[in-house]
Assembly symmetry: none
Homo-oligomer: 212 residues x 4
DNA sequence: TATGAATGAGAATTCATTCAT
DNA sequence: GATGAATGAATTCTCATTCAT
């Protein structure tokens, strides 16, 4: 009863505490890694805090020191994912290979492959009841915008609108990266994908505009 | 149709008991409906047996009468889904509208929309660690085969191989049914989808073969 | 996340479930007894659910079957206390000894002694931050009203207002029942208390009106 | 509470460490203040060491520097309360207003009001299982003795025994200070209380001796 | 068969206390 | 001394499953 009073007075929602020491920073990092791996493997509901702590080589108390709630851990993971996406795109933009459609296609496929586990984890954290999930939309916009910029870098004569449309298609195609490996002959398919992409940068799709 | 391989070793594997009377059949049906709804809403792990029984207006004991295990309930649900898919396809095949590509396209989109919730529930039951999940593959094959047949019915000059390929693409396109509604202007997009489908039945995609 | 959605949709506040079978009724009774004893001994915060279940000879699951929350258990306890108070007062009113001031005094002292543990437990459940606690006021009013009636029964010439005032004083004096035993010579003091009470029914206190 | 008993056997009982410097003294003071406030608000069990440190603007490590145990902190708080009571009484004794019964009554009421929070905190630290708690008795005796002296100072013709008796009654009346404010018209009641007190110093209660 | 109750392992979370820097 | 991190036993609460009537 008294706890609730405190809460009503200050509405002390739990927040992930930021580490202040180097040791803490490392701990948080490894906890996030462990969580990402387990969420990706088993989904959000099936992943226990105990398992996360164990996998990270931390005590359960240590985990709760930084993430007072499983949901908060999930949120942190999604933020980190967004940050990683941004960083990877920045790195890609600085890579000179990206000046050609083929190079850009290869770079994007590589980027997606590198984000595979983290993306799976992040998807496991989406509330399936809420398709307009704010964070999800945010990452989508981030990618669309940045990819459009990359396309204009690789194919300078593209105007802004066209680039935006092609970015949407590109993103859809890129999602296939995560479905192909389940199939036979992934290498061949990956080649095909790179090919489609490279073409998509310069030539509009014939079937009309695809959104989402 | 489905054979349970596991049955070989164990002495007394629990099996979903079949109801003896009409009343029992109805109860089982409503239990499955409740389970489908809840699995679709909250996922497998987050759905409790108590909640299922409650939603079905049954007691927990009654639920366990028919489904001695949560997993067994999930299995029954997947089987029922497969059965429903089969029935829906049969019904579609008998619908004379399907003699034209446009009619078939419309029919398939309708079919997918009708299976929406059940499909979501079934997907929630897939072990994400096992992408080769037997049951999943079985349903996929069922759909591919049946859709190929429908295509040949609507476009009689198609040969078997071509029909098979187009069925694969068709299936991919059909999955979009479940993504579009989240977007703006669903009606417009649904039209577009029907259009793409109708074309896919007669004309191969230019960008190469898509698998899975 | 899905759980919260459910909650937001139906605001499913947990409620103490009422037993539907005889066995359950007994269980609930013994759980409440155990809880009363432990709350009285150790206070609300220091009493664990495990300890309550153990003392009642029930499993922890059984406890939670009926009281999904410790707070709910506390609430049920307070309700039961109020009910017991009411019943005890009714019984006292029907006791013919109460037709005289002395008899009434003795009866009230007896009544208080019988409620001792339960009262201690109930007091341990009051949120000390909230002096206007609704339940507490309710019991106080119940007692004031009923005692006033008893006084008019014992001393018929008393008018309603006077009886009400004397009931307030009576209640204050009665609280001493629970402090005296800690002192030396409880029997002597109990006699004195009975004496004061009997006098309080007929004669106003000289020092002015005491409220609360 | 049983755990704390075990400690009696151990070799090195932790003791509250005394601060060496002025800065330390201030820190200890603010820690005690924070603890008093929180114990008073939420009770002993519900108050966490972390919360205390936070409220005092200190780190948890710092808190443990001075109070190696929560119990030790509680003990220190009770000692400080006793000390404050003594100081307040000394100050009161030196106040010339106390030469008259009315002045003394006012002074005592004032004194009680000033100790309100600290008293609430101290009460929250009493083990409810042990009504003969040593510390509690000690404070009670301190107050009885000092108040008796004050009474003889205000009403010089009182003999020692009578003064002692009246001190007991005075103390009981003074406890009302902490109950009255919850009622309607606190100012009026406070006046009445002062009045009763002033009379109690010179005139014996008619109803007999009240103890405790 | 139907139904409510019983069970207990397991999960999330808390918190006093200890450590290392 | 001061500070943040580490620890893990203890606590609340959940839920699949089994029992008894």
């Amino acid at each position: 009863m008294s706890k609730q009073n405190q809460a009503s007075a200050a509405a002390e929602l739990p927040v992930a505490r930021a580490p202040r020491r180097e040791r803490g920073r490392q701990r948080v990092e490894s906890l996030l890694d462990a969580a990402a791996a387990l969420f990706a493997e088993n989904g959000f509901e099936a992943t226990t805090m105990t398992a996360i702590a164990q996998r990270a080589g931390a005590s359960i108390g240590s985990l709760y020191q930084f993430f007072p709630t499983r949901q908060l851990l999930a949120d942190a993971l999604r933020s980190r994912f967004e940050q990683h996406v941004g960083e990877a795109l920045t790195r890609l933009a600085e890579d000179c290979r990206c000046r050609t459609p083929e190079g850009l296609a290869a770079g994007l496929v590589e980027l997606m492959k590198g984000l595979r586990e983290e993306r799976t984890a992040a998807l496991a954290l989406v509330d399936p009841n809420d398709p307009r999930d704010a964070h999800r939309l945010q990452i989508r916009n981030l990618m669309r915008t940045r990819i459009a910029a990359l396309i204009r870098q690789a194919v300078p004569e593209t105007d802004a609108d066209t680039a935006a449309q092609r970015a949407v298609l590109t993103l859809h195609l890129l999602k296939l990266v995560h479905q192909l490996p389940h199939e036979e002959a992934p290498a061949v398919l990956e080649d095909a994908l790179r090919d489609w992409l490279a073409r998509a940068f310069v030539q509009p799709p014939q079937t009309g505009r695809l959104r989402d």
